[in-house]
């Protein structure tokens, strides 16, 4: 519960983006999460990405399930509609919202309990359908709000704060998303904002199912020795395959990269993704290769991060359903009701 109202005034010299909005216009209420929570860093990255993309804040719909992560949409984009729905059911609510109005930007925020346990099915099916969305899982491997039970992304053999060893195998949501045909798949770390912000920006600009798994340590229940989702562990085992710069509009690509180290990917809307390769062998257009790479590195205890897969020619659910360009929620009687003459014909065919 937010007891403290956030002051609205800000420094007059605060920089503005192309639309004239300041950073503050993308903020929300004061977070009620624990001080130092990884989720708050992700919130800050979402704010930064939206500011940099010059998105109109009210044209974003923020949808979440239940849990610590699902509370965060209240803490960013205060002028957007938000929907803190039902545990594990964000994907279906988002799918319905997207069908109703294809013109908004859909940001789905979920957690590992929300998406890998109770909502595993909905996660999978929304990805399969290619809903145009940015699906972020704030992954801490633990149930925070109910005080520290393992979640389905907790690694086999990792230890809880109370010293219990996890004997269940972990679900890797990135691997599943790749297998199910997500057209933009990334993993990042809440502690690495420079990696995360461009990934979120690129995902928002991607037309199709974008999935980002963000390892986000739980400061209260999963930041101890023996945890594989602690700040220390993730920093030590982070294997970033690339670094991303997102270039919007017609601005030329910066030329200060060494030749051969940058791969430029152009998305549907003209957004250019400049990928600086950190691992020379990694190809983010190779879905099968990505799956293979991930599994090999996971076996070695490494956490692969970066833009892992992107299909710039992706199609979304609306394309599959061949719906009209006009948002369905704006169609009126004239557009929708066939009228009495058509009904008379139907009656005649039923005699």
């Amino acid at each position: 519960m937010t007891y403290i109202a956030k002051p609205k005034f800000h420094h007059p010299g605060l920089p503005k983006n192309e639309l004239g909005y300041t950073h503050r216009d993308y903020e929300g209420k004061i977070s009620t999460l624990c001080a130092g929570c990884g989720h708050d860093s992700i919130t800050a990255s979402i704010i930064e990405a939206c500011y940099e993309l010059s998105i109109e804040p009210h044209r974003v719909a923020k949808i979440s399930g239940i849990g610590c992560s699902s509370k965060t949409p209240d803490y960013f984009l205060g002028n957007s509609h938000g929907f803190n729905s039902v545990h594990g059911r964000m994907p279906s609510v988002l799918t319905g919202a997207n069908l109703a109005n294809r013109d908004l930007i859909y940001l789905g925020v979920s957690g590992d309990g929300d998406s890998a346990s109770i909502g595993f099915g909905q996660f999978a099916h929304s990805i399969r359908r290619g809903v145009n969305m940015t699906y972020i899982v704030e992954n801490n491997g633990v149930y925070g709000l109910t005080k520290g039970q393992f979640s389905a992304t907790a690694d086999f053999g990792s230890k809880s704060k109370k010293g219990v060893t996890n004997t269940d195998n972990a679900i890797d949501l990135v691997a599943i998303a790749l297998q199910l045909g997500a057209t933009f798949v990334a993993r990042s770390f809440s502690g690495d904002k420079t990696q995360l912000v461009p990934l979120i920006a690129a995902a928002i600009r991607h037309k199709g199912a974008s999935f980002i798994d963000v390892i986000s340590p739980c400061i209260a229940f999963n930041n101890h020795a023996g945890s594989t989702k602690s700040f220390d562990y993730v920093r030590e085992h982070n294997d970033a395959v690339n670094r991303l710069d997102v270039l919007v509009g017609r601005e030329p690509i910066a030329v200060d990269y060494a030749p051969g180290t940058v791969q430029v990917v152009e998305q549907h809307d003209g957004t250019k993704l400049a990928l600086r390769k950190l691992d020379a062998d990694y190809d983010p257009h190779d879905r099968l290769g990505a799956q293979n790479f991930l599994q090999k590195h996971a076996a070695k205890g490494q956490i692969v991060t970066g833009l892992l897969y992107v299909d710039p020619e992706a199609e979304d659910l609306h394309a599959h359903l061949d719906t009209v360009e006009t948002p369905l929620n704006t169609l009126d009687e004239k557009a929708l009701c066939p009228g009495s003459a058509a009904l008379d014909k139907i009656n005649a065919s039923l005699r």
């Binding site: 803190n84 609510v93 319905g96 109005n101 999978a124 369905l328 929708l336």
Partner: protein
């Protein structure tokens, strides 16, 4: 000759076809029903089918009824026994003096027949085998051949059947002529070898009029098209799947942009019922008209979301095509057994609006209306059909639409209204009707956004766990439900010809059987005023109807008298005054059942006091 004189009846009898599921009999049987309609004689057909694709027994019953009694009658006057598996039971179910039609290719021992019925054998297999070589053709045309034979036995005008076949296979000449040929094979064999016609006959009449013949599920789906539904999410479940399938085919014909060819609708087959209702709620939250269709088990799965719809006040339309429960129950049998489950669906204090259409025409009207109600009331509206209405063709009045009708999109605050400085509180009751304003996402850059949640919040949608704030909101929801009372379809009352102390309440698919039962009861000297409930919350006329009578029978198709419980609970009625009349074996309720149950109870009330009898 049978030892009981054969039943003789024109335009008033029941034929039952006993078939094997998957044998292609359904279309021939439906053709039979339609061809009687073309004689100007009403029919009421019913599918009695198993939860199976191929091999198990299935029946199709056609009640020929010049008087227009569209409820199930009970009893069989002619059995078309095409299924050896069910032979004994089928033969046993024929009324004394009735008829048995069977395939006489293989001789049957006389012990397999009954002495009190007329047995009509046609060597169907022999005829088909001598005409066709392809096994599938043999199977399919056998059905048309028995139809031809029946047309001779019932003295039907075969040209009307030919005409129907012509309409069905328009443009497919080969199929058309081969079907007509098969029809005549059967008809000619019967005319040459049997005494035609028999005691059961179809005679041309003029009793169908402009009525149409349609399944309730298809009509409800059409109502969704006319009512402006743009998003449909569903998960296959008998007996509701044909709602979504019909919506799909109606939309393909009626909802594509003429210029671009693109769809003005989105249909998603969800991964389960949870996803289906989630999609509906997401779409409705975002200002589209959305619905799902399901049956009992689906309702159980959806209840968490239904509570969210109630508490966060998000429109949703759920079409519940009821089947016999609990659990998987009898998936292909009818009941009205989800009244309580829907009225109070979800944890915590909830109440939901239910609509009870009696036939496809009302299913169409109520379906279209349910979208207005959902958006006006910002809550879930249940359209309560059942298998009997949903999956059977029913003769009903033509569907009507007033072109001047506008959708009621409810209280939606627009960017202009926000710009004017209107106070926007998502859960603020500004008009005293309990209904707040809502905004669609993306309306205004700085005004009108709010955070939707299933947790408690104040009038301005700010999270709150204050007791007084919570109670204030719950009270407003009660006010809103009171407002609903005057928006939903009102009960319809029909009084007996003479003053009576007794009344009867009924709803939904019980309607035609009830109407017919009234006549049977009057013949026994029992007069009852009738009230057909068409919606929950109950209009005040329900309580006054009960107050006006000593006893009121409540007729329903479930074991636990669910509607009666709802009436008692919501209106504080003394339960003794409501006498339950319950039918719940999965078959559609019949006039005979109602008349017997009520008649017996009434006779009991009229027992002469002992003293009088003695003196």
């Amino acid at each position: 000759m049978p030892d009981q004189s054969p039943i003789s009846s024109v335009n008033d009898f029941v034929v039952r076809f006993a078939n094997v599921n998957g044998s292609g009999s359904a279309s021939a049987n439906e053709l039979f029903a339609r061809s009687i309609l073309r004689h100007g004689v009403p029919v009421s057909p019913r599918n009695i089918f198993p939860s199976n694709i191929q091999g198990l027994p299935t029946w199709y019953e056609v009640r020929v009824t010049e008087d227009g009694h569209l409820g199930a009658r009970g009893g069989v006057d002619m059995m078309v026994a095409m299924n050896p598996q069910t032979w004994d039971k089928d033969v046993a179910s024929i009324e004394p003096g009735g008829y048995l039609f069977y395939d006489s290719t293989k001789p049957m021992p006389t012990s397999k027949f009954r002495a009190d019925i007329t047995v009509i054998g046609v060597p169907l297999t022999a005829i088909t085998n001598s005409t066709y070589t392809d096994p599938r053709q043999r199977q399919l045309f056998k059905n048309i051949i028995y139809l031809g034979a029946l047309s001779a036995l019932f003295d039907m005008d075969y040209k009307l059947i030919e005409q129907l076949i012509g309409e069905q296979y328009k443009g497919k000449e080969k199929l058309l002529s081969s079907n007509v040929h098969a029809l005549h094979l059967g008809r000619d064999w019967a005319l040459q070898n049997l005494k035609c016609p028999i005691g059961l006959r179809v005679k041309k009449a003029d009793k169908v009029g402009e009525r149409i013949f349609i399944e309730g599920n298809s009509a409800a789906a059409l109502g969704a098209v006319y009512g402006g539904a743009t998003v449909c999410a569903w998960y296959p479940i008998t007996p509701s799947s044909s709602v979504a399938e019909a919506f799909t085919s109606h939309c393909k014909r009626l909802r594509h942009d003429p210029e671009t060819g693109k769809a003005k609708y989105a249909i998603v087959q969800g991964e389960d019922e949870l996803a289906s209702i989630g999609i509906v709620i997401g779409a409705s939250w975002n200002g589209a008209r959305a619905f799902t269709a399901t049956s009992g088990p689906g309702i159980s799965l959806m209840t968490e979301f239904i509570g969210l719809s109630y508490f966060a006040e998000i429109p949703a339309v759920i079409m519940n095509i009821q089947r016999a429960g609990p659990s998987t129950g009898m998936p292909t049998r009818t009941q009205q057994c989800d009244i309580i489950a829907c009225a109070y669906a979800s944890h915590g204090d909830t109440k939901h609006v239910l609509l009870f259409p009696e036939d496809p025409a009302e299913a169409f009207e109520f379906a279209a209306h349910s979208f207005d109600l959902a958006e006006r009331l910002q809550t879930t509206i249940f359209l309560m059909l059942d298998l009997d209405i949903g999956m059977n063709h029913r003769l009903c009045r033509p569907l009507k639409w007033d072109d001047a009708r506008q959708y009621d999109r409810g209280k939606v605050m627009t960017a202009e209204m926000l710009e004017e400085g209107r106070d926007f509180g998502r859960y603020l009751d500004v008009d005293g009707d309990g209904i707040p304003y809502r905004t669609y996402p993306g309306t205004h850059p700085t005004k009108g956004s709010y955070f939707t949640r299933g947790t408690s919040r104040d009038r301005y949608a700010r999270y709150s766990e204050e007791g007084a704030v919570y109670a204030d909101n719950m009270q407003r929801l009660v006010r809103k439900f009171e407002t609903a009372q005057d928006l939903v379809p009102r009960p319809l009352q029909a009084n007996a010809g003479k003053p009576t102390k007794y009344g009867v309440i009924y709803f939904g698919s019980t309607s035609p059987a009830m109407d017919e039962a009234i006549g049977l009861l009057e013949a026994r000297g029992h007069h009852l005023d009738r009230l057909r409930i068409r919606a929950f919350p109950f209009h005040s006329s329900v309580a006054s109807f009960i107050a006006d009578h000593d006893f009121v029978y409540v007729v329903e198709q479930n074991r636990d008298a669910q509607l009666r419980s709802l009436i008692v609970n919501e209106n504080g009625i003394d339960p003794v005054r409501l006498v339950p009349i319950l039918h719940y074996d999965g078959t559609p309720i019949t006039a005979r059942f109602i008349a017997n149950a009520i008649g017996d109870h009434q006779d009991h009330l009229k027992v002469t006091p002992l003293r009088k009898a003695v003196s």
